[in-house]
């Protein structure tokens, strides 16, 4: 992957997830961060930190991004969510507008 096409998402614990920009843009919030001029300081180097989102949840979110792209392209599968993650994932998804 070329660096220009990727973004780095950093969890509360400091884990770094490097994903396609296209995938990250599934989140409206991240899209705004990356596209609007004079945007958030964190996104200068293509990195976004989420201090309130734990590693497990951020990982699941990244999985969702890729699943979403797949779904949109016609491959409709089921996205399974572990019950114990539900509420936390829901709140993070709400925050990320995704």
């Amino acid at each position: 992957m070329k660096k220009e096409d990727t973004v780095k998402l950093i969890s509360a614990e400091g884990f770094e997830f490097v994903i396609d920009k296209k995938a990250a843009m599934v989140s409206q919030t991240i899209r705004n961060m990356l596209t609007s001029p004079g945007s958030f300081a964190e996104t200068e180097h293509g990195e976004v930190t989420f201090p309130e989102i734990s590693t497990t949840i951020l990982e699941k979110i990244c999985q969702y991004f890729y699943w979403s792209l797949q779904y949109a392209s016609g491959k409709e599968t089921e996205f399974h969510i572990e019950p114990e993650l539900t509420l936390e994932l829901m709140m993070a998804a709400n925050y990320l507008h995704t």
């Binding site: 979110i61 996205f79 019950p83 539900t86 509420l87 829901m90 709140m91 998804a93 995704t98």
Partner: protein
């Protein structure tokens, strides 16, 4: 034509609804999201979630749900009455509290009703039983028969025995020579209170051999 991709939020809400019975502390979840999920709860589930969520007050979300439960349980009329009462007094009480209060009031009334019925049943059963013929375990002694036999040594003994074997034995005993003799002698004693025999021979020795069981007494015998 691409189908709209389900949002992660929607997927999570659906999963939460599917797993509603496992929900406990919902913490700081957004109220508008909780609204979507909790409207699928039944009474027990809602109660559990509210009780488990110590950190935040869910009543803005749950109050209308409790009102619904109240209406289902106690009827529209009762609900309207409560609404009217609150309006008049210019106070509002949480519907959960109203529900729980009404429930406990009804349970108390039911319990009293059951207790009353149980008591009446018991009284009726006791009344019926007291009128029944009861079996006695002991036969009371019949004293009237005793009184009708004035003579005979041991006559009353015969008729007081319960076993027929003993009865037979007693009859034989009463009819035996020895007992008859003693009875006769007793009668004589009564009649000859003051008379003294001149012979004064000890006749008991000869007699003693034939009936050793008898206690020999020095009184006169007539042959």
């Amino acid at each position: 034509m691409r189908r709209k991709v389900p949002s992660l939020v929607d997927l999570c809400v659906r999963t939460a609804i599917d797993n509603i019975k496992y929900l406990g502390d919902v913490g700081e979840t957004d109220h508008h999201l909780l609204d979507r999920i909790l409207s699928h709860c039944n009474l027990d589930e809602l109660k559990h979630i509210e009780d488990s969520t110590q950190g935040s007050d869910l009543s803005p979300v749950t109050d209308k749900m409790w009102k619904k439960f109240y209406k289902v349980r106690f009827g529209a009329d009762s609900t309207d009455m409560v609404v009217e009462r609150m309006r008049k007094r210019k106070t509002t009480v949480l519907w959960r509290l109203l529900y729980e209060a009404k429930l406990s009031e009804m349970e108390q009334a039911e319990k009293e009703s059951v207790d009353r019925m149980t008591q009446r049943y018991r009284e009726e059963t006791a009344r019926k039983q007291s009128r029944q013929v009861k079996l006695c375990s002991k036969v009371p002694p019949s004293s009237s028969r005793k009184r009708s036999f004035c003579g005979g040594v041991g006559a009353s003994n015969i008729y007081n025995t319960k076993s027929s074997l003993m009865k037979k034995a007693k009859i034989e005993f009463v009819n035996s020579r020895e007992v008859k003799n003693i009875a006769a002698m007793k009668n004589k004693m009564v009649h000859r209170n003051h008379s003294v025999s001149s012979t004064g021979k000890p006749l008991t020795s000869g007699y003693a051999s034939s009936s050793s069981k008898l206690t020999t007494k020095p009184y006169e015998r007539r042959f």
